[in-house]
């Protein structure tokens, strides 16, 4: 009331709301023209923090797709993971009117909604990858079902622990992020009725030595923990390092995510029991391909589940290392 002159982007007052239902997507005419004229397509994947170790397998996939499909595809995003800056960059790209397709992954499922809506309104095909932005104007999601992956992690852990009772300390590189929240929700569900008590999730942050120190200090106060579980690539390696250093190999169980090179070593050394791969190379590759195929051939855009492969010491040599 009283601010009738102020409008939300796209004209609806319900900013950040379910803009997905805002209306039909209409491809920008400049994009269809460029496709017709066979111009080199420009695809940008905005990852929430390219300085994360996990960005590099995605980048590999993107590069592979770019070479294969003959398009200009790149990973962009804010070093350090500042959501504000990620939105800024996306807005700039949208305004500039030179990209033909966008894929985004966000730390928060809500933060990107307005800018996703803005892209859609500008007629730029936009999808999410790695982390979902449900309820936004995205056209599809390429990645794993995050809640389900958390649930499987928990189920595996319950098997490993057997009928021991005690605490499970959960770590995440960014407890504040949407993907972390989703995996944790699944994880809790998977642990229900097991009698295991959850401590955490504890936020480690992305800086390796700080992450290690956080694990160390947390564990100093959790002497009776029977297991640690990580919700991501990067707190997992910190937790594993602590298990190894503190002589807890074989005493404390450890499960987590992704197949970073160190994770492989820890698996082989018996320091950790299991990790879940979400096939990040494929996430990068399929995102680009989905957009390009849609633009070139009108292939309809639909969700792609990159799956969740349970990796243990036994099958570790069969899955590609991520990084």
């Amino acid at each position: 009331a009283g601010c009738g002159a102020i409008e939300a982007p796209g004209g609806t007052a319900a900013a950040g709301g379910d803009a997905a239902s805002g209306g039909e997507f209409k491809l920008a005419s400049r994009i269809s023209d460029d496709v017709k004229q066979n111009k080199k397509l420009v695809i940008r994947l905005s990852y929430h923090d390219p300085s994360l170790a996990f960005a590099s397998p995605i980048r590999q996939g993107v590069e592979k797709a770019a070479a294969e499909l003959g398009v200009d595809a790149k990973i962009v995003g804010p070093t350090g993971g500042d959501a504000n800056q990620q939105v800024s960059e996306l807005q700039t790209l949208i305004n500039q009117g030179q990209v033909h397709g966008l894929a985004v992954s966000s730390a928060s499922s809500d933060a990107l909604k307005p800018v996703i809506a803005q892209a859609a309104a500008a007629g730029i095909p936009i999808i999410s990858f790695n982390t979902d932005n449900p309820g936004s104007a995205q056209m599809a999601f390429v990645g794993q079902d995050l809640e389900k992956s958390g649930e499987s992690e928990a189920a595996e852990l319950v098997k490993l622990v057997g009928d021991k009772k005690g605490k499970v300390v959960v770590f995440s590189v960014d407890t504040g992020a949407g993907w972390s929240h989703d995996r944790f929700t699944g994880f809790k569900r998977g642990l229900e009725g097991s009698g295991l008590e959850i401590v955490g999730p504890v936020n480690t942050g992305n800086e390796p030595s700080k992450a290690y120190n956080t694990v160390e200090s947390t564990m100093a106060a959790q002497k009776d923990a029977v297991a640690v579980a990580s919700l991501d690539c990067c707190s997992f390696t910190a937790a594993a390092k602590w298990i190894k250093d503190s002589g807890n190999t074989g005493k404390i169980h450890a499960v987590g995510f992704d197949v970073l090179p160190q994770t492989v070593e820890y698996l082989k050394g018996g320091v950790v029991d299991m990790t879940i791969s979400q096939n990040p190379v494929d996430q990068g590759y399929r995102s680009v391909k989905l957009l390009v195929d849609h633009l070139r051939d009108g292939t309809p855009i639909a969700d792609v589940d990159t799956g969740a492969v349970l990796v243990t010491e036994d099958n570790v040599d069969d899955v590609p290392v991520e990084g």
Binding site: P9, A13, A14, V76, E89, T92, N95, G178
Partner: protein, 339 residues
């Protein structure tokens, strides 16, 4: 601050003067940065496709708004010969307080006010400790950076706070950060302009502003002129804290989302902007326009790099290099004019 060689600033001090007319423009303290900004604009126009459009400029305006609002407060602190390293944490604190209260169902106006006031309180604490204990503000705010960050994490329990559009008041609240006046001008840009104007009036047209320069130049001399230097400094910290929290509230409104680590490291960008804008770290000089130019410089630089599709790692390199370059050019130009 460091490098506060008291003997190293004989003439730097002298240049707070205000010549008039053309000479004024040319000799202004901000001229170096202004020329750097002009060069950057020319480079943008020549090399960055899509740079020269109203839409793009409005977007840049929106992007710099939060940094700019914080920089206004920090300008007061730096002219006072102090520093505030805690603004990034206060930004988070303000946003989290507001977010929690909105989620609890309080009217958004009350919630936002509470958020801003939490920043004022944090700023007051910084000021009172600095003045009361006589410890350098670099240390006080280095410590409080951690304290406020910890509080932000504790309040939010480390989880993100997302404003769901179902909650009453959220739609209105998000207009602060996402709305556009007449559907065109970003509200955040309006807030920035208002804040800068207000800051300019206070700094150049009030006794308090005058006293700020006096205290920053020489605390003892100012005190002997009957100025309550402690009060002047504390007020500067309160402004800095208030505006940082206000920026945090805008950030929350913009992203509908905040978490404990939000705003980490922001202080460095803000301080860079103020210094690029010509304020001297040893206090006693600096202007609101300079700060605005410094903020614009950082925003445009980011924009040009984004438009050129420079990778984020190169952006990190470029931002750092250009900060040094801008200040170097400014310093050299000013040295040249003098001799």
């Amino acid at each position: 601050m460091t490098a506060l060689q008291s003997d190293a600033r004989p003439q730097a001090r002298a240049s707070a003067s205000r010549p008039s007319g053309w000479t004024r423009l040319l000799h202004a303290r901000e001229s170096g940065t202004l020329s750097a900004l002009v060069v950057l604009l020319l480079i943008g126009a020549a090399l960055a496709p899509g740079f020269l459009s109203t839409q793009n400029f409005l977007t840049v305006g929106q992007q710099i708004a939060q940094i700019g609002i914080m920089a206004v407060g920090v300008t007061f602190v730096i002219i006072n010969a102090e520093i505030d390293l805690s603004v990034g944490s206060i930004y988070a604190l303000g946003a989290i307080v507001t977010g929690l209260l909105i989620s609890d169902g309080l009217p958004w106006t009350v919630a936002a006010l509470a958020g801003v006031l939490s920043g004022a309180a944090a700023g007051f604490l910084n000021g009172a400790l600095t003045v009361g204990l006589g410890i350098p503000s670099f240390i006080v705010t280095l410590g409080s950076l951690s304290v406020f960050r910890g509080l932000a994490l504790l309040l939010s329990d480390g989880s993100p706070i997302s404003l769901s559009s179902g909650t009453p008041g959220v739609a209105e609240f998000t207009l602060l950060g996402q709305g556009r006046l007449f559907g065109v001008v970003p509200m955040q840009l309006i807030f920035l302009i208002l804040t800068v104007l207000l800051g300019w009036v206070i700094l150049s047209r009030t006794r308090y502003g005058f006293h700020t320069y006096a205290v920053g130049g020489s605390q003892e001399a100012a005190r002997l002129c009957g100025i309550d230097a402690g009060r002047v400094k504390i007020l500067a910290f309160v402004m800095s804290g208030t505006l940082a929290a206000f920026a945090g509230v805008l950030g929350l409104s913009f992203l509908s989302y905040v978490q404990g680590v939000t705003g980490t490291g922001m202080e460095l960008t803000v301080i860079s902007a103020v210094i690029i804008g010509g304020a001297a770290l040893f206090g006693g000089s600096g202007t609101m326009w300079g700060t605005l130019i410094g903020v614009a410089f950082i925003g445009v630089l980011q924009n040009v790099l984004n438009l050129r599709g420079i990778s984020s790692f190169w952006q990190t390199v470029a931002t750092g290099a250009v900060i040094i370059l801008a200040v170097a050019v400014d310093t050299l130009l000013r040295r040249r004019t003098r001799s």
